[in-house]
Every structure is written in structure tokens, then in C-alpha cells.
């Protein structure tokens, strides 16, 4: 019995990337304990439910960014695609289009941005940073354009079903937003970990030349990753629209970076080839808990930003040190090579 349990534990831990997930989960627990001690209301059912709903968008954009990061690329257009999605869907709804039809049209537009990103990076071999910097600007421009450089009016009564589905409604005492995130996570985690496309995504990030020579269609696979990223950003845009009940032009600003943060805190490597989506969930939770917790204990915005930024650096640094076993070495090197640590 004991040995069997050990075995299961061993198996779970031997899953690639699990080490970082376990460490970060422990960190997450510590954070929750600290915030709980500072303000016991942190644990109230209401706050927990709200907290999870706040975390959900980070999970979703994190999934998309993780896909792209694992291929060894980056997607800077996520925040703008989110904003574009929010504005297009809201504008259509205020013009009387059925909310679900509006959502569908919006998603098609978003996926097209993903397709263009993928094409620029894998087809035309543009550096991903530049390519998505460009589409980031264009997508934000589209967000501003669709309603003549104005935020939209309220999307109205007819959109109540839509708003319930993405934000206000609850199923089994969890907000629907959380369910949407979990459903997307299940699907995309399955694809990444169990299917050929997923395997090829890792292979490309690890060694694109080797993947190509093994017959992997690197262009198609890279494009798929970008489409997933844009899709996730699109869904998050719909959530944002449902949340506010209107379209805001600057919705999603900086979300591409939150998505990077959720991914790397959870152990996804920005150099590609490494990381699992379970980590991305944990990373998104850390991000969300920090935001919510610091707000809850009344920390000013400036302090929040500083603390959260440090968290990102520390969590990645911890990973680098643990993984390479070269902690001592890199620290000595950083502090000046002549320093002797006994």
C-alpha cells in the first residue's frame, strides 16, 4: 500500500516540468497563508469566488502564450487581440446583432490575426518579437477603428444571456468564467500533451532544425500555436466585454505580458521546448492571488506592481538555479568571479 502510493507520487513527479509546478504550488500556498493572516476575510467564500473569477482570464491568455513560448516564439499581440475582440463583439451587439453570432464573427477575426502572426513568423521568417509587435499595433488600431475611436454604449438587455454565460452566471457554485477557463485548459492541455501537434510544438521549440529534418511541418505547427494564442485572447476579450457590458478600446492592455508571467512562473521556458499547462494554471493563480491579495490588504498600486514584478523574476531565477544546479556558480559569477564561496 505504502509502496504503491510512493509509486504514484513518483510517477506524478517524474512528469516533465512537474518539479517547477510543485515548487510554485508550495509558493502559492505560502502566499495564501500570508494574505489570510493579514486579512482573514481573504478566505471568505465571496472573495474566493471572486478571486477565481479574476484568475480565469490570466489562465486563458496564459494557455495561448504558453503554446507560443513552447515553440520558442513569443506573441506580443495578445493584449491587443483581446481589446479587438472586446470592441468588435460589443460594437456588433450594440448594432443589434445576436450576441452569439457577434461572438462567432469576433472569434473569426481574432483567429485571422493568429494566422497572420504564424505566417509572418514561420513563413516569412520574421523575428517573432517584431512580427507580433506589428500585429499588436494593428490590432489595437482595429479596436479603436470599429466604433469610430469611441468606447461602445452598453450592450443592452438582449446580451444578458451572453453576459451570464461569460461572467455573471454560476454553475455548481463556481462562476461560469472559471468553467470556461477550465474547459479551454482541458482541451488545450490534451492537445499539447497527448497529440501529435502537441509533440511537434515541443520539438520545434527544442530544435527546429531537427524537427524539420524529421519531417515535421514546422510552418503549420508554429501557425497552429499562434492561432491557439489568438483564439485564447479572443475568448478573453468576450469575457471582458461580458464583464463590463460594453466595449472599451484599451481593454487587455499589457495582457500579453501577464500571459508571459503566468507561463514562466509556471515553468514554461521562454527559450522553448519546456513547460506544461498545469504550470500555467498555477502561474496564473500566483499572479491573480498577488493582485487580489495585495489589493485586499490595502497595498497601494505602486507597491503592488513592484512586488509582482519581483515575484516574476524570483520565480524564474529560482527555476534557473534549481534546474542547472549551478546556483552557486551563477551567483558567484554575478557577484564577481573572484569572490570565493567556501
Amino acid at each position: 500500500m505504502e509502496s504503491k502510493r510512493k509509486n504514484v507520487l513518483h510517477q506524478v513527479l517524474s512528469i516533465r516540468g512537474m518539479g517547477q509546478v510543485v515548487t510554485v504550488s508550495a509558493g502559492l500556498l505560502v502566499l495564501c497563508v500570508i494574505f489570510g493572516a493579514l486579512n482573514p476575510n481573504f478566505y471568505s467564500g465571496r472573495n474566493i469566488a471572486n478571486l477565481l473569477r479574476q484568475i480565469a482570464p490570466f489562465i486563458i491568455v496564459g494557455i495561448g502564450q504558453s503554446y507560443v513560448l513552447i515553440t520558442g516564439n513569443i506573441d506580443l499581440s495578445i493584449g491587443s487581440v483581446l481589446g479587438m475582440s472586446c470592441m468588435i463583439s460589443a460594437t456588433l451587439m450594440t448594432k443589434g446583432v445576436n450576441p452569439w453570432a457577434a461572438s462567432l464573427i469576433t472569434m473569426i477575426a481574432c483567429i485571422m490575426v493568429g494566422f497572420i502572426n504564424g505566417g509572418l513568423v514561420s513563413g516569412f521568417k520574421l523575428p517573432p518579437f517584431i512580427a507580433t509587435l506589428g500585429t499588436m499595433t494593428v490590432a489595437r488600431g482595429i479596436a479603436q477603428l470599429v466604433n469610430n475611436n469611441m468606447n461602445t454604449d452598453a450592450i443592452g438587455e438582449s446580451a444578458n444571456g451572453f453576459r451570464n454565460f461569460f461572467y455573471y452566471g454560476k454553475t455548481l457554485s463556481l462562476y461560469n468564467t472559471v468553467w470556461v477557463a477550465l474547459a479551454l485548459w482541458l482541451v488545450f492541455n490534451f492537445i499539447l500533451s497527448q497529440t501529435k501537434v502537441g509533440r511537434h510544438i515541443y520539438a520545434i521549440g527544442s530544435n527546429i532544425e531537427a524537427a524539420k529534418l524529421s519531417g515535421v511541418n514546422t510552418a503549420v505547427t508554429t501557425t497552429i500555436a499562434y492561432i491557439v494564442s489568438a483564439f485564447c485572447a479572443g475568448v478573453t476579450g468576450l469575457i471582458t466585454c461580458a464583464t463590463g457590458g460594453l466595449g472599451t478600446m484599451d481593454a487587455g492592455t499589457s495582457y500579453e505580458l501577464y500571459a508571459v508571467a503566468a507561463s514562466v512562473i509556471g515553468g514554461v521556458s521562454t527559450l522553448g521546448g519546456q513547460g506544461i499547462l498545469l504550470g500555467t494554471i498555477v502561474g496564473a493563480c500566483v499572479w491573480g492571488v498577488m493582485q487580489n491579495g495585495l489589493q485586499f490588504v490595502g497595498a497601494p498600486v505602486a507597491l503592488r506592481n513592484i512586488v509582482i514584478g519581483i515575484i516574476v523574476i524570483v520565480s524564474v531565477l529560482a527555476d534557473v538555479i534549481v534546474r542547472s544546479g549551478k546556483g552557486k556558480k551563477s551567483i558567484t559569477r554575478f557577484l564577481g568571479v573572484s569572490l570565493k564561496i567556501k
Binding site: R199, Y202, G205, V216, S338
Partner: protein, 500 residues
């Protein structure tokens, strides 16, 4: 003839500025091992990349199993039954052994990867190679020689009828090579056609049936191996006779110039003591993974030392970084030139001048371009580096010429001690002799030469004194005149036998 499984007719391939293949014809029969030989840059890899769909030919005809094929891609070549082991390792280091073996042709059941099945299949293939590797091991954690074996396993697993091996043995240990040869012979006896590319000409007699020779992108000759000899092969490859494969010069050992005392750096460098005298080349022999590279890196300051002293010309020197070492004139020509030796995205010229910029800098840090040109031209001339332009990227050169660039940048640095780590790996006979001559020339000038090599004939042929390492320790030392292959091998496996 009908029994050719591959026929290449008048294939031409032009890269910007180089005619890599000029009307080359080539053929391969079922059930033979064909050695494709030629100097660095002769076009061997290019020809095989054309056949395996990596490069597209500019003109010519490709016939596989008698059928003309057009528009080859790596995938299409795979489907035709062509497998290639590339000269450079091509592994996804974050993926497992099994995942690498099945990359691009994963087994899928109902849309889901059949991981267990692939692991089991991989295990079978590894077993057939007598490789004791868990298929779930992450490839990046394996030593280079094992990675190379995995690469071979990957090619074999495709069950290809046509197998191309581009220098498969350059990173393998003697035992693994033996194992590989057994398998190659077995594959031949099953009726497969094998193209074997190697610069280790001593290997040929164990496996080869026929040789085809290229020079400067042109087909020179094909002949049965039994009808020829090394002399002829070499002179056809090089285009002239090579008098001596291991030219040795004597110049009398003089004063001590370099000493390493009690050097420790991690598990692979334990209590290393060595001395170097003016006018000698000291060879460091041992198997792959004996700690020789780690030792050179510790001396060079690339890895931190735990303890130990380094003395140069009777003076204790402090080396904590490569910059310190270079300032003192102690340099390393590293074994993995792509990873450690070259900035492949920089030009050849910039690579040569990189460690020597101090001497090129004028006022306000301005780099004297004229001096830089002269410096690079001198290196190119001295080492006979074959290139189209010194402004081309370093990775446009063939393997051997890349290696010469690495040597060139240190020669321009007026170094006092040069550690050569496997300098002839993947280098053709003529260029090998050039590298030996360079080492000899340095020895005559009083520059200390440490020569790390896994190829015993060259260690025996070139060094004056030989140090043997095993498992991070020095296990023996002898004069070259007293050394034999057996003596060295015994010392090189001193701790291995105990482990086994």
C-alpha cells in the same frame, strides 16, 4: 545496371558563390556499404542532403529504385525509404529518447499519441543496438556519444532501405564503434544500401565494399575497395600524394613553461597535475567522457575551479575567466566548434579578430578595419582556409574549414599555451596533416601544446609525451616512444572495468 537502388545523374547544386556540386554522378547498390570520401568541402554532405530532400538540386536527375523522383522533401525521402544521420547532431534535447526516435512519424491511436507503444518500440530498437538506455530519458541529459547512438537508432527505426551515415563515428567510443560496425554489416547482409561518410580512413577496412571519391564538388572516381589502397584513396581525395600521415619533428625538450598543480573542478577534474616543457607536444589520451574537456575548460577559466594552481613561465597566474586566460596567453581550441568555438552568425573575419580586438582598437574604441583584414588574411593563408570570402558567415564553411578558423583566431593572438581539444574531429586527411604541421610549428616556436584526442594513432604519432585520463583523474604518463595502443587503452579504462 538494374540493381542500383540509387542513381544520381549529373547533379549540380550551387550555393551563393560556391558550386558545391558540379555535375556529380553517384550510385548505390542494394547490399553494399559504400564509402563516400573527399576533403572538407568536397560536397559529400551536400550530395547526401540532395538525396534526402534537405536541399533541392539545381539540375540533374535523381532515381530511387529505378524511378525518377522530383521535388524531394525530408518527409518524401523518408517515405521512399531513405534515412540519413546528419553530420551534426540533430536531436530535440528536451524530448525523450523515444520521442526523438519517433519524431515526425509518431504512432497515433484515435488521435492520441500511443506513448507506451512508442516507448516499447524504442526499447526494442535500442536493445538491438545493445544500448542500455531508458527510452524515457531526456536526450539532453545523455552524453554526446549516447546521443549519437540515439540518432543512429532513430535512422534504423525507419526500417529504411537506403541508409546514409554522415560521419557517425566522430563522437563515439571504441566500443560503440565496434557495435555500430556489427549492425552496419548486418544491415548490408539484409540487402540494404548504406552510404558511409568518414574522415577516419582506418575504419574503412572493417566495413567498406566500394568507395566513391569527390573533390571540389566533382566526381573523381568509384572503385571496389579491395582493388585499391589507402595511398591511392588519399591521393585521389587530395589531388596529390601525402608523404607522411603523422609528420613528427624533434626539437629537443628545454625548460619548463607551464604547470598545473592539484587542479580540482567538480567530479570530472580531480587532482590534476601536469607539466609542459618548451619544445614538446603533450597528448592527453582517454575515452570520451574521461574529463579531458572539463580539465581544459577549468584551466581556461571557462568553468570555476575548486582548488589548484597554474604556473606559467615560473610565475603563478590567476585565472578566473577566459578573459584572464587569454590575457595570459593560455587558450583552448574547443571540441564542439559550433557550440564553443565559433560565433556562427558572425563573419569569418570577425571570428578571427574577436579575441584579438585589443590589438585592433585605435582611438575611441574604433576598430582598425584594415588591420582586421590583414589579420584575417594572414590566418586564412597560414591555415589554407578554403572560403569564398572572409566576410561570409562562419557557418557557411565546411566542418574542417570551420575548425581552421577557430585555430586561426588563437594563432593571431600570440598565445603561449594552446590546448587543442579534439582538433581533428571531422577533418579530412590533408587538413589533419596541416593541423599537425601547425602544432609542430608552434612546438618549434616554443609554444606549449596540449593535444587532447580520442584517436590513438594520431596521439601516438604526434605527441612527444602522453598523459592518460580516466574518470576525471590522470591514470598514467609515458613518453611517446614507449607508448603502445594497448598500454594507453588499459590506463584509459582503469576505473571502467571496476565499475562494470
Amino acid at each position: 545496371m538494374a540493381d542500383y537502388i540509387v542513381e544520381l545523374l549529373n547533379v549540380t547544386k550551387i550555393f551563393p558563390g560556391v558550386k558545391a556540386l558540379d555535375n556529380v554522378s553517384f550510385n548505390l547498390k542494394a547490399g553494399e556499404i559504400l564509402a563516400l570520401l573527399g576533403e572538407n568541402g568536397a560536397g559529400k554532405s551536400t550530395l547526401m542532403k540532395v538525396l534526402s530532400g534537405v536541399y533541392t538540386k539545381d539540375s540533374g536527375l535523381i532515381k530511387v529504385f529505378g524511378e525518377i523522383v522530383e521535388g524531394l522533401t525530408p518527409k518524401k525521402a523518408q517515405d521512399l525509404g531513405i534515412a540519413i544521420i546528419h553530420q551534426e547532431l540533430n536531436m530535440c534535447s528536451h524530448l525523450s529518447v523515444a520521442e526523438n526516435i519517433f519524431l515526425g512519424r509518431e504512432i497515433v491511436r484515435n488521435g492520441i499519441l500511443a506513448q507506451k507503444e512508442m516507448n516499447a518500440e524504442a526499447k526494442k530498437i535500442l536493445d538491438s543496438l545493445s544500448l542500455d538506455i531508458d527510452p524515457e530519458t531526456i536526450v539532453g541529459t545523455l552524453p554526446v556519444s549516447k546521443q549519437q547512438m540515439v540518432e543512429i537508432a532513430k535512422a534504423l527505426s525507419t526500417n529504411a532501405k537506403i541508409l546514409i551515415m554522415d560521419e557517425p563515428t566522430s563522437a563515439l567510443t571504441a566500443k560503440e564503434i565496434e557495435e555500430l560496425f556489427k549492425i552496419i554489416r548486418k544491415l548490408r547482409d539484409e540487402g540494404r544500401g548504406i552510404v558511409y561518410i568518414s574522415h577516419r580512413l582506418e575504419e574503412l577496412r572493417y566495413i567498406v565494399d566500394r568507395v566513391t571519391i569527390l573533390r571540389d564538388g566533382q566526381f573523381i572516381k568509384t572503385m571496389d575497395f579491395k582493388d585499391t589502397d589507402m595511398r591511392e584513396i588519399i591521393s585521389l581525395m587530395v589531388g596529390r600524394d601525402i608523404k607522411e600521415k603523422y609528420p613528427r619533428i624533434e626539437c629537443g625538450v628545454r625548460k619548463k613553461i607551464f604547470e598545473v598543480k592539484n587542479l580540482n573542478a567538480g567530479r570530472m577534474v580531480r587532482n590534476i597535475n601536469l607539466e609542459l616543457y618548451e619544445g614538446e607536444i603533450v597528448g592527453i589520451a582517454g575515452l570520451m567522457g574521461a574529463g579531458r574537456t572539463e580539465t581544459s575548460r577549468a584551466i581556461f577559466g571557462a568553468d570555476p575551479k575548486d582548488s589548484g594552481e597554474i604556473w606559467l613561465h615560473g610565475r603563478k597566474v590567476t585565472i578566473n575567466s577566459p578573459a584572464d586566460a587569454i590575457r595570459e596567453g593560455i587558450v583552448v581550441v574547443p571540441e564542439d566548434r559550433k557550440k564553443y568555438g565559433l560565433c556562427t552568425k558572425l563573419s569569418i573575419k570577425n571570428n578571427i579578430s574577436l579575441p584579438n580586438l585589443n590589438r585592433l582598437i585605435m582611438f575611441l574604441g574604433y576598430i582598425n578595419k584594415k588591420q582586421e583584414n590583414i589579420m584575417s588574411q594572414t590566418a586564412v593563408d597560414n591555415l589554407k582556409i578554403k572560403l569564398t570570402s572572409a566576410d561570409a558567415n562562419a557557418d557557411s564553411l565546411s566542418g574542417g574549414n570551420q575548425q581552421k578558423v577557430v585555430v586561426g583566431k588563437w594563432l593571431a593572438n600570440n598565445s603561449k599555451i594552446i590546448i587543442f581539444d579534439e582538433p581533428t574531429r571531422g577533418i579530412d586527411v590533408a587538413a589533419k596533416v596541416e593541423i599537425y604541421n601547425i602544432m609542430n610549428q608552434l612546438k618549434r616556436q616554443g609554444i606549449g601544446v596540449l593535444f587532447i584526442s580520442s584517436e590513438l594513432p594520431e596521439i601516438l604519432g604526434i605527441s612527444d609525451r602522453i598523459i592518460v585520463m580516466c574518470d576525471g583523474r590522470i591514470t598514467g604518463e609515458m613518453l611517446a616512444s614507449e607508448a603502445t595502443q594497448d598500454k594507453i587503452l588499459e590506463l584509459a579504462t582503469k576505473f571502467e572495468t571496476k565499475l562494470a
